[in-house]
Each structure stands twice: as C-alpha cells, then as structure tokens.
Amino acid sequence: MDDERVTDGDQGAASIRRAFDAQLQDAKDDVLRLGGLVEEQLRRAGQALVERNVELADAVRWGDADVNELQRQVNLEIAAVIARQGPMARDLRELLALYHAAAELERMGDYATNIAKLAQQLAAEPELPLFAQIPRMEELCRSQLRAAMRALVDLSEAQARAVCAGDDEIDHLYNSVYEDAVALMEASPDRARQATHMLFAAHHLERLGDRVTNIGEDVVFLATGRIEDLNP
C-alpha cells in the first residue's frame, strides 16, 4: 500500500484548530461516560437477576432515564459540532462513529432495563433454574463493552477486531442456555414460565453483545474508512 493510511492510535499532525479539537474531545468523553453508565446498569441488572433483588432491579429501571438523557445530550453536542465545524475525513468519521456508538449504548441500556424487569418478575418465584451461563454472559458482555470503549479511545483497529471476535463466545453461551431451557421445559412443563424468562434474559445479553460488536465495527470504520461486517 503506497498511500499513507492512518494507523492504530495515530492522532494525526498537531492541529491548529484547538477549539474544534476540544469539542471533539468533549463529545468523545461523553460517549465514554455513557459507556461507563451502561456498563454499571448491566452489572446491577445481572446482580438483581441472580440475587432476585427487586430494589436493585428497580434502581436499574430508574437509571435508564440517565442513559437516555446522556445520549440525547451527546446527539445535540455532535450535531452542533458537525453544523458549526464542517468536519472532514477522519474528523467526520469520528463524529459519525461517536453518534452511532451513543445510539448503540442507549439500546444496550434498554437491554439492561429489560433484564431488570425479568429479575422483578422472577423474584417472586420460589426457586430459580440455575443457568450458570447467564452470569458468565453478563460478565463477558461487560468486559467486551469495556474493550470496545478502549478501542474507541485508542482508535485501535486491532483492538476493535478482537472485540468483534470475542462475540462468538457470547453466542455460544446463548445457544447453550437455549438448549438447557428447552430441556427444562420438556422435563418440567410447570417451569416453562421460569425457563422462558431466563431464555429471554440470555437473549437480551446476546443482543447486547451484538451491539458491542457494532461499536467495534464503528472503530474499524474510524481507523480505516472501510465499512465491514465483523459479526456475520
């Protein structure tokens, strides 16, 4: 390749547009803050599910408003930077990627809320089927999310590709929950409701993992300018 492509972590030449750079950094910081907020929502939702903690699940449901509000702020912020600064090339890609990442994070926040709702419905059950895969999925989703946010900060194509590759394990765990849930329903039809709820929780986590992958694709787009499907 004889053109000088932007490589991992390359922030480009020193800019004379300091005001613009500061605005871009603000937008990035807010998206990272949104990522942190969603990660915490997910952690609490997972804990509420396992511990059958209704209050904690309630806190997650209330907390979703903060996620939505921050995403709304990020949207306005990025729209203003695009309108005012006329960003080009890498700057434009970065703002578009951040805008999209914020939308994905907001959706992940919704999945965390859905899991919290399931936790509340299951809390009244005398006994829960133990699907050990679910806490593992929740943990994996959070570490994937952290890795995607790090890739976004570092503008690292390599890290982003690793995040996308990591989604396979979440998918695998989901398939395993599916099999276990069906087996439980067949063996004990009276527990079909519980099994379905757990299957839904796993499904939300699987979808959340896909959204993380989308952020990984955003980072690849940011670093290379190419749109790739990394979660075929």
């Binding site: 004379i16 300091r18 005001a19 203003a80 005012r84 006329g86």
Partner: protein
Amino acid sequence: MKTLTRPAPDVRATAAARTGRELPAEAVLELRGVSCWYGDVRAVRDVTLDVPRNQITAIIGPSGCGKSTLLRSLNRMNDLVPGARVEGRILYHGVDLTDRRVDPVEVRRRIGMVFQKPNPFPKSIYDNVAFGPRVAGFAGGRRELDELVERSLRRAALWDEVKDKLRSPGTALSGGQQQRLCIARAIAVEPDVILMDEPCSALDPIATLRIEELMHELKERYTIVIVTHNLQQAARASDMTAFLTMGQDRAGYLVETAPTTELFTRPRQRLTEDYITGRFG
C-alpha cells in the same frame, strides 16, 4: 465633551471561568433602533441588538445588506463618509456613541477595528504596533513601550515569528502575518471591543484558521464583533450570530440573532433557514 467611563474589571467572566457555569453575558454595546443613512439612502433599518461582553458576535448576510455599514457605525467610522448619519442609539456602557458630543477618537481607541485587507503602515513591525500608543501620548519610556509592543504581538500570536525582525517593514510579512500585525496594532491601545470587517477574506484557509484561533484567545480580554461573508467562519468562530438581510426598500434589517449553535442547527426564522441552507434568492 462627554467622557467614556473605563469598563469595570470583568468579574462576570472570571466567575464563569471559575465555576464553569455560563452566566448571562452583560452587553457591552446595545443597539437600539439603529438606522444608517448615506444621504437619502437608508442602508440599514431599525436594528436592535445586544453585543455581549467577552464573546464573539458574527454578523452574516448577503452582499449589500449593510453588515459593514452597521459595523462601522459602532465606532463612528462612518463619520468620515460625507452625508453618512446614524439614527437610533448605540449605547456603550450606557453612553450613546451617536451623540455628537462624544469624541470619535476616544471611541475608536476603545473600539478598535481590523479591516478586510491587511493594511499595515509602511513602517517597521515595531512602529506599526507602537503607532497607536505614541499618537495617544504614551506616557512610559522606551522600555515600557518595548514591553507594550511585545505584549501586543504576543497576544496577536505573532511574537515568535517576528521577534528577530522587529525593524523589518510590516508590509514584508505574509498576508496572514500582516493581518495579525493589524490585530496587534489594534490591541496595542488596549481597546475594549475589536470590530473585524471580513478579516480573513484575503487569506488562505490555514491563515484563516489561525486568525479564528486567535479570536478565540482574544475574547478572554476583548469583545469581538466580526462581519463575514463566510457562513462556515461564523459557525466555527462565533458565539452569537446576527443575520441581516435586505428588505424591499434595499435597506438591511436584522432577521434573527441567536447563540451560534442554535442559529445554525434550528433557526427560528424561515429567512435564516433559507439563507444558511443556500436557498437564498
């Protein structure tokens, strides 16, 4: 002769910087029903506008809508044009600048101007900057003047480029440097407000961005009003934007004033929307 009171130290800006909270900005200039005439021709009609302190206010609008005329009325520059007159009031810290008893020389010292084309005097870089203070009867000695020249050139982000050639002619600098020299010359007399009339229209994009960055730094100390044809420049560089257009009578009038982000993302007036989206005329 009426005297202009010296502005108080900018406590509000300092407080805002400290708390990180935006306070409603105090208006340095308050235009009230301002109309500008050249003989029988009205060039600007009935403009009412506040220019907030320590902010950059951009005036945009199509050619011939009276942007420059309005700007020049703010420091009595139009006094120099035969037949030119201003109606309405232009309040600067409460004093009406249109009052004939106000000394225009004093007005121009407080409210400086940078023009479309860089116009350094055919003198050395040093003398260009020292010119204003000397004419105003600078009281200090040689060392104090040296310091003032250095401080002005530093604030205009030009010092590092010219410190070894202060005796070279100002006209030998590049276009962008000449414009920064003119800014240094304007701030050497320690004005309160700097008016800029299309300051970048003769400059290349990089020199333009340098001036915009400089404006961003200068607004900590000064209030800036800039007239620009370049919508992107207004969007990038200003805090407030005023949109002027021309009426049936060919006089310019104010359509809308708003914080720049608001004006460029969700203007209130259809005329503004049409102009900034290129659907004008």
